[in-house]
């Protein structure tokens, strides 16, 4: 049993407040560093964040809309239909991919200084959130070009969906990054799984098109109802309602699993790193 106390701060509520502020400071600085380093030395910089969803949308439009002549449900053009899901998906996918190695790649730091370590994978999520928010003006521009005007509903819907996705991601990255310390294969497995996961999420098809007994399994996908909610918000200005309850359940489960994994594995980092 071991206890550490900060003696110059009284053992009261202030102690926790001071620790919380410091943890948030750390998250802020780490996020800023991550944002800065991500595209350092590249010519296009931040544009790479946009390139990923835009190029995917282009290729999917060509294959599905132009070649196979599939029409998007509703009246939205196929590109908008895709992009309204691909932007939030890119935030999800990059966060998980970039955070998988956040413990294992920071061994020198983790072995020398003690700090709230969960900040490391979380900073990958928040820095990707920063990129996601920066890419929203591009989405709005495209929406407006096709005559889709964002409504005031966004002011409620956007923060709400960001919060839910943030919680799911926080749990997921803690889980993946913690296990990756002991099994580096996970990093590579995650990369493959994320590609497959894209097709199992209502991105190139709407959630409503999924029917039948087997189809209902899609609700086991934590991202299914969430991505549909993003699309409803971006295209129809619809504030998410009760239909996103699966996402909330998955957020709670992810946080629980992530915290348990991190708490129980953290003690063994010193040997495995």
């Amino acid at each position: 049993m071991a206890t550490w106390t900060d003696s110059h701060r009284a053992l009261s509520g202030r102690l926790n407040l001071a620790q919380l502020t410091r943890t948030l400071d750390l998250l802020l600085l780490m996020t800023a560093r991550e944002v800065k380093l991500r595209y350092q030395g590249t010519v296009l910089g931040f544009l790479w964040t946009l390139a990923k969803p835009l190029l995917l949308a282009l290729v999917f439009s060509f294959a599905l809309s132009y070649v196979l002549r599939i029409k998007a449900p509703g009246d939205a053009p196929f590109v908008l239909f895709l992009l309204s899901a691909l932007f939030p998906w890119t935030w999800f996918q990059s966060s998980i991919q970039f955070s998988a190695g956040s413990f294992s790649n920071n061994a020198p730091l983790l072995k020398k200084v003690y700090f709230p370590r969960f900040v490391l994978p979380l900073s990958a999520v928040t820095s990707q959130l920063f990129h996601f928010v920066l890419s929203i003006p591009i989405l709005v521009l495209l929406l407006v070009i096709w005559g889709y005007y964002p409504g005031l509903e966004w002011l409620v819907g956007f923060p709400l969906l960001v919060a839910i996705q943030l919680l799911i991601l926080a749990g997921a990255v803690l889980l993946v990054a913690s296990f990756n310390v002991f099994l580096r294969d996970l990093e590579h497995l995650v990369e493959v799984l994320m590609t497959l996961w894209l097709y199992l999420t209502p991105i190139i098809y709407p959630l409503s098109a999924v029917k039948g007994k087997v189809g209902h399994l899609i609700y086991l996908n934590p991202m299914a109802s969430l991505i549909q909610a993003w699309r409803d918000l971006f295209l129809d200005n619809r504030i998410p309602g009760t239909e996103i309850w699966p996402a909330l359940v998955f957020a709670a489960l992810a946080l629980l699993a992530g915290t348990i994994a991190f708490k129980s594995l953290e003690g063994q980092f010193e040997i495995a790193l």
Binding site: A2, A18, L29
Partner: protein, 265 residues
């Protein structure tokens, strides 16, 4: 109810033990583990215990400077790692009161691609300051590290001496209450080394508790109020620096004189 420990005691180890397992072969990869499953299972059973520390009891008071000496593998660094929270202990009880600043390896976590200033800020927050406090210290850190214009250059342009200087500057400016120093002062030029020792001396006068792990027995005699001799994970001697150093030297002399007799404690 009476507090079990004196308030003046800032580090208290009560029968602390630390066990490591030695694996004949590490199977870090899934593929290796699966391909050699029988070996893998046998290996996990054949793991060997190694006690880096055994029932170590030690208490250090506020403002005290304690030198930890002993041969390689005696458990000196493990002790520091446990106190700095980097290694969980296996048995026993540990109480630490006050902000610990580890000087275990200077500049851990510095990133090559960003400037010394940005690294210093992040490092100071890592070591326990808030962002506001860290920003206020930046001028002092820049001054102490003698980096001049390099402070705002990316750290990949730094020489190893500059790297260490910045690391030390950050570590001593985070207002530590407990400073853990592990064999890091043998770096930098003589001039900077003296500056480091002067600064540590100043911290000592400010009632900062210092735990110094080193092979440099002279600095233990010069700086410490007390010395602890570790050998094979147990405390072999404890007391006045001069006496403990003499004890260590005589033991060491005995060891090298008759390598067959490994009689300790």
């Amino acid at each position: 109810m009476r507090s079990p420990y004196n308030e003046q005691e800032v580090i208290v180890l009560d029968n602390v033990s630390k066990r490591y397992f030695l694996h004949p072969q590490r199977m870090g990869e899934l593929k290796t583990a699966l391909l050699h499953l029988p070996t893998f299972l046998r290996a996990s059973r054949a793991r060997q215990e190694f006690w880096a520390l055994r029932d170590v009891s030690l208490s250090i008071r506020r403002g005290e400077s304690v030198g930890i000496i002993g041969p390689n593998g005696a458990g000196k660094s493990t002790l520091l790692r446990i106190v700095s929270r980097l290694a969980p202990l296996t048995k026993g009880k540990l109480t630490v009161r006050g902000r610990v600043s580890p000087l275990l390896e200077l500049g851990a976590g510095f990133h090559q691609q960003i400037s010394g200033r940005e690294n210093a800020l992040l490092n100071a927050v890592l070591l326990g300051l808030s962002r506001k406090e860290a920003k206020e210290k930046l001028a002092d850190i820049a001054d102490f590290s003698e980096l001049g214009g390099f402070f705002d250059q990316p750290m990949r342009t730094y020489s190893s001496g500059m790297y260490v200087r910045l690391g030390f500057a950050v570590a001593v400016h985070v207002r530590p209450e407990i400073l853990l120093v592990d064999e890091v002062l043998a770096v930098g030029d003589t001039e900077f080394q003296r500056k480091c020792f002067d600064h540590i001396e100043k911290l000592r006068q400010d009632k900062v508790t210092i735990v110094l792990v080193t092979h440099d027995l002279d600095s233990v005699k010069r700086f410490c109020d007390r010395a602890v001799l570790l050998n094979h994970g147990v405390i072999a001697a404890e007391g006045k620096p001069r006496e403990v150093v003499d004890e260590y030297l005589s033991r060491h002399f005995e060891f090298s004189a008759s390598p067959t007799s490994r009689g300790d404690s």
